[in-house]
Amino acid sequence: MDFTTFLWMTFGVFVTLATFSFLYKDNPFYKFAEHLVVGVSAGYFVIILWHNGLVPNLFQKLADGDWYYLWLNSSEPWYIVPAILGMLMWTRFSREYAWVSRWPMAMYIGISTGIAIPLTMSTYINKQLYATMTLSFDNFWGHGGFNLLDPYSGLSNLIIFVGVISALIYFFFSKAHEGWFGRVADLGIWTLMIGFGASFGYTVMARISLFVNRIQDVDDWGKVAWNSTVEPNPNYSNWFLVVFWGMVLIIVVYIIKEIVQHFSSKSKAQTQA
């Protein structure tokens, strides 16, 4: 690893720690990390949009056309239509003509909705309905005898079926949840909550793995910097010490400043009282 890579790695660790400092409270380090990531990502997406969106999907399609023919002489001139619709969005900069920008938006929303309705209907209604209809109650007590934890047993499928029906009843809005209907709806919300609990645990596990990944990065950096066993180069240790103590100094100064501010504001408050 060369020194430049090491410096970038150090910077990555600094930004990681700066982000974690948010756990204490909002502070200049977090603000720095926040503004950095917002700014960099905004700039990054502009470039991505240019190179992966506009260039291959518009400019290259009209590449063989001429501007004085308004690119109508290109081999794929129909790409001018979305280009014009896209440009109409810029009318939002004018108070007088801002209404024109509703045309491309209407087109976009209309097309998207047209695509979304059959897709949603198919995925969330037809396929789910078929899956519920074809639940099997064979092997009711589980495969291989009495196995209550078997997810494919008839009992599991019965629980799924009752859960689906009761959860659907919970989502009835034009009928009050009273009497037997209310009790089934209560069962529905219980089913939902059990599902949410499982989902919560599953996702938290995934988040922990992200955290472990960050810590591993910091650990790798420490290995490179401290004893250079990964890449034997004694210079890293010295550079590391400079960078490390520099960071420690900044943090210590910040904490002292915070403490001084805290006590001065407290004494001011006492004086005013």
Binding site: I109, T113, Y130, F171, F172, F173, G197
Partner: protein
């Protein structure tokens, strides 16, 4: 040695044991053993009953192949490790590939800003014309099978496979373009661990691919959409005629007005987060309706509203929604253009920015409505830390648990859509809400009937609702 290295060693030993067991149990040999067995492998039996036909219910440019696996695949000599799919192509496809490459180079030169001194646009037009001429001749060349062409490898599939979809590109200038209404020929070779020892099947063809206007697999979806549409129209008409439609109280929505009042009393702003969805997401559309209600109340109470957005189109729509709400409240003069603003289209950068707003501006109320992903807990936890009242609503099942634990009120799934009807009390929304309830009742009845049909073995009933693509 570090502990993880011991795990690695342990894993490696397991892996070796697994390989040894696999070979003993007669699993087809892998390529690592080619040298030791190549001398002794007899040619495998070919695949049989090879059929090629147009892939149904698609836009064309695709052929489906079906065959019965070789007698030596999982049985017999057990020597087949996979199959190679070949298609016959005329030699002119090489010239076409060359032209495609040249067109790409000229395009790159145009956008690379290279000054070559030649008219690149003229060149690209000439190349495309040449390509179009070749494309017209391609169908004729395919009809000339087997003269002037050769077999080319399309793909390899593992042993046991009996179907393959040769999915080509529909873009004429793309690699892998398969022309429609053109005679195509295929064969499937049974492979052994020795790359030289393989047995070709009989050739199937000519077969042509073409697109279908109507996807018959989606007929159940069409019927569902039509029935649901009729229900909505019926109940919207009833609502318009003045029929009273009851909507049960929804806790989270009732809290919105109180939360706005709290913000006004505290003199602090309200933060409205529309999530990461686009304007085509139903959740985002429902969130706009609630935003309109919130913005109107905010305008009436003269409270500040902050709406940071992730998507530029969502920002544009949200600006219009907030603006019209201020007009409706008769407070157009107090509308601030900057209250709805774009942050970034990077998920966690957006979260970082919104978290910063929460801790610096300390909004009295945070409203999260729309489509949320991994950022949901990050946002809701920070809001709780800042001491804000939080109301959330999303149809993203995986994110609801986080909102439920970190927010004061949560609209679960469809409650988000119902909330817009509850707030707006418009006949269209109320009618569609009633229609949805009837649709749910129909789903419950059909599910019960389906279960009975499955138990009794009447599969025709359940298959009627089966959508395969």
């Amino acid at each position: 040695m570090a502990l993880y290295k011991w795990f690695f060693v342990l894993g490696f030993i397991f892996c070796l044991c697994g390989m040894a067991t696999a070979q003993e149990s007669g699993v087809p040999p892998d390529s690592a053993n080619i040298d030791t067995i190549s001398q002794s492998i007899p040619p495998p039996a070919p695949v049989t009953d090879l059929q090629a036909f147009d892939t149904r219910n698609d836009h064309g440019h695709s052929i489906t192949l079906k065959w019965k696996k070789s007698a030596d695949d999982g049985a017999g000599n057990n020597s087949v490790i996979g199959y190679e799919i070949y298609t016959w192509e005329p030699n002119m496809v090489d010239s076409m590939a060359q032209l495609r490459s040249e067109i790409d180079q000229v395009r790159a030169a145009i956008y690379g800003g290279k000054k070559t001194g030649e008219d690149l646009k003229k060149k690209i037009r000439t190349l495309k014309d040449q390509y179009d001429i070749l494309l017209e001749q391609l169908t004729v060349a395919h009809a000339g099978y087997p003269e002037g062409g050769e077999w080319r490898l399309v793909d390899k599939v593992p042993a046991g496979t009996e179907t393959y979809v040769h999915l080509g590109s529909k873009e004429k200038l793309a690699e892998g373009y398969i022309p429609d209404y053109t005679d195509l020929y295929y064969r499937v070779d049974a492979l052994t661990a020795d790359s030289v020892v393989k047995t070709p099947s009989v050739v199937v063809g000519p077969v042509q691919c073409y697109g279908q206007w109507f996807n018959t697999e989606q007929v159940p979806v069409l019927i569902t959409v039509i029935l649901f549409g009729v229900l909505i129209l019926y109940f919207v008409m009833l609502a318009r005629k003045g029929k009273e439609i009851y909507v049960r109280p929804i806790g989270g929505i009732e809290a919105v007005d109180d939360a706005i009042g709290r913000a006004t009393e505290m003199g602090k702003p309200i933060l409205y987060v529309l999530g990461l969805g686009s304007v085509s997401d139903v959740a985002t559309i429902a969130a706009f309706t609630i935003l309109q209600r919130v913005a109107k109340k905010v305008a009436e109470y003269q409270t500040d509203l902050i709406v940071p957005t992730y998507d530029p189109i969502v920002m544009s729509v949200a600006q219009d929604v907030v603006k019209s709400a201020y007009y409706d409240a008769g407070r157009a003069d107090t509308y601030k253009e900057d209250s709805v603003f774009f942050v970034t289209q990077s998920q966690f950068a957006y979260v970082a920015a919104v978290n910063g707003i929460m801790l610096r501006d300390l909004p009295a109320t945070n409203v999260y409505m729309g489509k949320f992903y991994a950022e949901s807990l990050l946002l809701a936890e920070t809001g709780a830390l800042a001491g804000s009242i939080q109301i959330s609503g999303t149809d993203e099942i995986a994110q609801m648990p986080f909102f439920i634990v970190a927010c004061d009120y949560t609209l679960i799934g469809e409650e988000l859509y119902a909330a817009s009807a509850y707030l707006g009390r418009e006949p269209i929304l109320l009618g569609s809400l009633k229609a949805q309830d009837y649709a749910k009742a129909a789903i419950i009845i059909l599910s019960i009937l389906g279960i009975i049909a499955t138990v009794l073995g009447f599969t025709w009933f359940t298959e009627f609702f089966h959508v395969t693509s």
